[in-house]
Point group: C2
Chain length 247, copies 2
């Protein structure tokens, strides 16, 4: 049986059961202030020369897609993942036969959340082989830019996944250091939902139920010092519903 299948693959795979090139694409999110940013690459060659694209690359012969996503995250951004907390999860697979005009490429898109202090973005190293990766504000890119391949669809799906996920989990804390103040977490929510309608007091009450108060305080320029929290429960119950989109 096994031998038969392998023989079959060898002889007929390209015709009957075509093999495909497998890649990963990455939507890497990070937050500065109240702005959601993502990592993009400017394409230097055809097709879609000059357009923005998502970082990504081929899946190796002995990797699964998630492992490849972590590797590409490190390679394409030049980030030291030992120093930067990060979270990577699978988003969806894009398999339209014509999504890459050159050949059949099936891509497993991944969502990556990079922890920052909420003020500065991790420096992206251009690396040697790829075009320079750069941080750009997500909502502005979606409003103004042309994206290569089906990367607009992927980016939109990633944003919607993240926006939905922080409704019922503390995934937003993945975009912050292990210890953080509530105003930082609130700014992450505002960045992802692209809104400023979050009442600070109500937000505090809602979140403290799922957080652990370290007892320490953080001084931050003006205003009273904020308490420092860590995540206690990964899930919010009941969930925190997004405010309706601005009119």
């Amino acid at each position: 049986m096994a031998g038969e299948e392998q023989q079959f693959l060898q002889d007929y795979a390209p015709r009957e059961y075509p093999s495909v090139a497998l890649t990963v694409d990455l939507v890497v999110f990070a937050v500065t202030g109240s702005t959601l940013q993502a990592a993009f690459v400017r394409r230097g060659g055809h097709p879609f020369k000059g357009s923005l694209a998502l970082p990504g690359g081929f899946v190796g012969p002995n990797e699964d897609a998630l492992t490849a996503a972590w590797r590409e995250l490190e390679e394409e951004t030049g980030l030291d993942l030992g120093a930067h907390r990060a979270h990577v999860e699978q988003l969806a697979t894009y398999s339209s036969p014509k999504r890459d005009p050159r050949m059949r490429v099936v891509s497993v898109a991944h969502l990556a959340l990079l922890a920052t202090d909420g003020r500065t973005l991790p420096a992206l190293d251009p690396g040697t082989d790829s075009a320079a990766a750069q941080w750009l504000p997500v909502y502005e890119v979606l409003a103004q830019e042309t994206l290569a391949f089906d990367h607009r669809e992927i980016l939109t799906a990633a944003l919607e996944r993240l926006a939905g996920k922080i409704e019922y989990t503390l995934a937003a804390a993945r975009l912050l250091p292990g210890e953080f103040a509530l105003y930082q977490l609130r700014r992450v929510y505002q960045a992802v939902w692209n809104t400023d309608k979050l009442d600070a007091g109500n937000f505090t009450r809602k979140m403290t139920g799922a957080l652990h108060d370290t007892g320490r305080k953080v001084a931050r320029g003006k205003g009273a010092p904020a308490a420092v929290f860590t995540v206690r429960d990964e899930y919010l119950s009941p969930p925190m519903i997004r405010p309706a989109a601005e009119s």
Copy 2:
């Protein structure tokens, strides 16, 4: 550029950037009474001979994964999809290099919801090429059966996806005809969540907000006749939270 890439693929793809065989696996759900059922195939050959497996098959050269899933749904179950309402969506992609011991197979798993009248299951045609597909109760299978490959993981993910999705959408109605009574919808929820803790009165109040009352009634053996509804809003807001698991 394009020629260069194609040349590259032709020469080096199997070594450097290996191509993979792409398949779809299907988790096909349907409901009878208050029991959630799924379609399974009993494996006739090695590996995992004798174990239950999910239906699936290869993705064709000019198909995307969703199209292949629809085709396999029709082929493997022998269902007439013109007569049966169905909903298919992508679930997740499984790409562990060793998930199939014979060769590298990457599978895009799909979730399929088949509409029934809530009493009888659509007959599954064994077809000619594959082992006979059969309906089996999902929770019993998960408790007792051995599943081939990583199909237990896929089935669990599909169940969780469905259980979560009916919290904030009316996806449960995809398992029913276009017109249905509230007791039918309630049984779908009970089947998916494997619970009997749904209060009929409160369920009615909650759901009628998102449904359209056709004004007609359905007589059903004992009890008062139930009103016939159709879906009006696909989304439930606020969502309907699952009761905590039974202890």
